[in-house]
Subunit: 187 residues, 2 copies
DNA sequence: CTGATTTCTTATCATTTGTAAAGAATTGCC
DNA sequence: GGCAATTCTTTACAAATGATAAGAAATCAG
């Protein structure tokens, strides 16, 4: 759990009481590659922290597997649109490598907000940062070409490119695998 | 300010003390159509509530005017990626109609978070809802066709379509005005 | 009301991206 | 190692979208 609290420290410092309250609602899991951490159709009531490994949020659009986002070690992953709306998610979370994750029970976490304002503040800041990322990604999808988006990814997250099959990258960029192959060929 | 507090009530109920603390950092403004509420390049330190009228967030990509989003009356508008990062925004806020807005000083607001946990909670929930909207929009840009996106907008926000020039709608949908014309012609 | 400006549509052609299919390369498994 | 499955690339063709330009329609200013 050391890594988790180091991650938290980037956003907000917690009192010892807050830390142990969070610890009490966390569980550690090891998940095999390819397994679903959360299945499609399930309402999101868990926030995951990735200690080791990698995951993605995915869904199906007309039978096509679409990757909405990736998460590497030292990152949080959750299906926000379900977590904050209480509605079931059409998306699932799948592990892309053998991974160790910490599951934070969101229902209990939200209850802790009443007792520990510093916990509420911590997660407010974490999700504000996620919000900013999503807005930036929206901009890139709205008015950058597929090639620009690929070069962007190459520059900002070369890790992802190394560790993930290109077909997943393609749908993440909003294009087909064939189209991505073409872009890469024009070196 | 009645409308503002009615809007707040949807998310979190405030104590009277919290309400007057917010009132103290709000100012009302009337802005003419076409005027910039916030210019491009400015760091976002204000959250706006639209009492009457309409606004958009816009920026330039290769000299093309791009609309990132619209906001109607009874909605909040802010350049989130600047507000939460403290970095200057490449985006501006422009009024699309004669409008009455309430400007909330964000620097002072964030300070109020320490004294009034219910204010922190209120804005946490407001921005969580904005986050959810942005994630849903991302999905639509990532894997829906331009035509699907247009039909979606037609169904969910016919108001916007009635009140705004189509060229702004086009860039909002991530396409050119010519392309939008074509889609509309195939009735 | 009238002329000027802006917005919208239509047409043509170029470019990008999608689809389908086939083969090459890689990975996984026994 | 060697077979099977998956992933990646390439090709050919179709569909969607972009760029440009020209004209129609709507809006605005005086």
């Amino acid at each position: 759990m050391t890594r988790l609290f180091r991650y938290f420290d980037q956003y907000n410092t917690l009192t010892e009481g807050a830390k142990s309250a969070i610890l009490a609602i966390c569980t550690a899991h090891t998940i095999q590659k390819g397994r679903d951490l959360q299945p499609i159709g399930h309402t999101c009531r868990t926030i995951y922290f990735i200690n080791r490994g990698m995951a993605r949020i995915y869904y199906f659009k007309d039978d096509n597997d679409v990757t909405e986002c990736f998460a590497l070690e030292n990152q949080i992953i959750a299906r926000v649109e379900s977590l904050f709306s209480g509605k079931p998610s059409r998306k699932g979370i799948q592990m892309l490598e053998v991974s160790e994750v910490v599951a934070i029970n969101a229902t209990q976490l939200f209850r802790l907000y009443d007792t520990f304002p510093d916990i509420e503040r911590l997660f407010r800041k974490i999700f504000e940062a996620g919000y900013v990322e999503t807005v930036n990604r929206l901009e890139s999808l709205q008015f950058h070409s597929a090639e620009e988006r690929y070069r962007d990814l190459l520059q900002t997250s070369p890790d992802i490119l190394k560790r993930v099959p290109l077909k997943l990258i393609a749908s993440y960029l909003g294009i087909t695998p064939v189209s991505l192959s073409r872009i890469r060929a024009h070196h």
